[in-house]
Symmetry: C2
Subunit: 379 residues, 2 copies
């Protein structure tokens, strides 16, 4: 067993922004950190060695998808998710809850758990807190999420309250079902966009002693400013000595705002998904690579970037391969976006460490917000 | 200018099988060689560094596709095809003839050239021998193919004869239009499946002094045994001191058979295309990775193979990612198939060099032919 497993050390704090380190079974993670999403045992378009080279420290796997195909028994039999997908760094798996509620069909929710039909072939499944823990332990993740109910936006305060009570009872059952000491269990704070219920959920969830806590139920369709607001109003009240993970967020602006609110960990499909659609994040803002203006542009995508894509290819080549529907387009774009996210978090860590977080934050927001509104004007 | 540009050296000959070396502007090519196809300025799913690492010596670009998009003027302006696509080894471009005749719409053929409509947007184009040379020189390929007419299979002997006469006149015009000394011009022997017209075309085409010659108009839909027969009956009569390139061929069996007939160079989309469809070539024959039997198979795809895919992933993972439609499936499968083709040619070169070609050939044919018929029984 790794020494100090689960230990979270704060190296520096500026305002609410935190520079920390979390020790997992497959290595230490420097925070704030962005975690690329590898839903079906692969981060789309990427090889593990490429992820490592561009600075990814930890990746996600999705319990719902892996349970449906190929199934956790096969992955366990083949030596666990790390070996199966050839990624030997830390892995976090979600609980399956969010996907059961957003992707599957014909859900029936009881105190016991959720019965649902697969979005792949309609076959019937049941997931309870115990089952979710069993799947995640078989996958062998380093960080495991408690099984929660994730209500949609908008929901009434009463529905949110009922749901968060259930999430609490499910957390207790999740913890009781944990038998794998190498895996760190995180609890998930719910409570929707109601400050009062958020704080109540926070109190309930953090009453269970765990190595980390997450904010769930954000980025479920609510307006972005409301998301920022609830994070600003909740994150600072999460335990200071534990890592804080904001699930499913977000854009570069979101990341900067939420680091500022005290968040340590992020995951999101955004940088990989939009890369495949030709949208790229740069230090000068968002770029839509298909635009006519890049047709004969010999410059790298981002002259401030040291990623493989920016070192070896022109905007004209990125445009050509995107318009031609070539796989290399998805690859080069994904490499760039994930490098950009990793670099953004790396610079954020350095800024907090060196007590210049506020000026770094303001510089980022000026660049990204201005570019977004430029983009909006052009579209 | 490279010393000895265009020089072809035979290191050893066994029967008709030849072990040679061709010097191009971007380096020497050891033959027999298989050339992966990079139609639109990318070998599908692959980065240039990966191609080099798996042993690819030279790749193809397709003049027809690159002329339509992004256009040779843009590529020239950006420093040529090598720089554009970040591949710094030798490149061969075809003449566009084959694609004009197989892909484009509403072709009108005259002595002057071919008028056609793009398969992309229906816009009108004209390619003549002079135009084809101009495009290829702007792309900056190391080996350039003469503009030929490629008649479909089946065609009458009279049509084939008319066509090959035109191809000869176009070759003379192609050569006259060549002004770029770094590019080596190859002529293309036509003549269909008629031994007599093949030999006549061969005589005509090789009467023009060129650094290499190709067999065209094979692999256009004719039965495989007829293709092998015409290659066996034609290749040995091609100039012994020049490289011989068989266009658009083929399977591992085809490669072994045609090296045996005296061919030095091959290209084909087969290994990359079928890789993306889940068909993999191994030393034990063809594998369809989607089959149920691989569901929980922890073994590498080919235990005899040292490629990245076989070193790091199980058959179960390859099956899972293929069924999940993941990009990594196309990548891992393409890496394997191209490595296999490169390795097959590497072993062929060693066998000819070490005077054990016949036993190597027989061993390959026994493995591949048996496995193909096993596969047929199972399907």
């Amino acid at each position: 067993m790794v020494q100090n497993l689960g230990q979270f050390t704060l190296k520096n704090v500026q305002g609410e922004a935190r520079r920390g380190q979390l020790v997992t079974h497959h290595g230490a993670i420097e925070t704030p950190v962005f975690m690329p999403v590898g839903t079906k045992a692969t981060v789309k378009a990427m090889l593990p060695e490429e992820l490592k080279a561009l600075g990814a420290q930890i990746i996600l796997g999705n319990t719902y998808h892996l349970h449906l195909r190929p199934g956790e028994d096969i992955i366990e039999e083949l030596g666990g998710l790390h070996k199966f997908m050839n990624w030997h760094g830390p892995i976090l798996t979600d609980s399956g809850g969010f996907q059961v509620f957003s992707l599957s069909q014909l859900r029936t929710l009881t105190e016991e758990g959720v019965t649902f039909r697969s979005h792949l072939d309609g076959s019937k499944y049941f997931i309870s807190p115990e089952k979710s823990m069993e799947i995640q332990m078989k996958l062998g993740a380093d960080i495991i999420m408690a099984f929660d109910e994730c209500p949609p936006y908008p929901s009434t305060e009463e529905d949110i309250r009922k749901s968060m009570e259930l999430t609490y009872r499910w957390l207790v059952r999740s913890k009781d079902a944990m038998t794998r000491p190498e895996s760190l269990l995180f609890g998930i704070v719910q409570g929707g966009l109601f400050e009062k219920s958020r704080r109540e959920s926070l109190e309930q969830i953090t009453s269970v002693d765990l190595p980390g806590y997450a904010l769930g139920g954000v980025s479920v369709g609510e307006p972005i400013p409301l998301m920022h607001e609830i994070v600003y109003k909740t994150a600072p009240y999460m335990p200071k000595n534990k890592p804080r993970y904001l699930m499913g967020v977000g854009t570069p602006i979101d990341l900067i705002m939420c680091v500022d609110a005290g968040i340590d960990m992020f995951d999101c499909v955004l940088p990989t998904r939009v890369a495949r659609n030709g949208t790229l994040f740069t230090w000068q803002g968002k770029v839509s690579i298909k635009r006519e203006q890049y047709k004969r542009d010999p410059k790298p995508l981002d002259e401030e970037c040291d990623c493989y894509t920016c070192k070896h290819y022109s905007r004209a080549y990125l445009r050509h391969t995107f318009l031609s529907g070539e796989i290399i387009s998805s690859r080069l774009n994904t490499i760039h976006n994930l490098y950009f996210y990793a670099e953004l978090m790396k610079r954020a860590r350095a800024a907090i460490e060196e007590n210049r977080w506020v000026s770094f934050k303001n510089d980022c927001l000026t660049r990204f917000v201005r570019s977004d509104s430029d983009q909006d004007k052009k579209n």
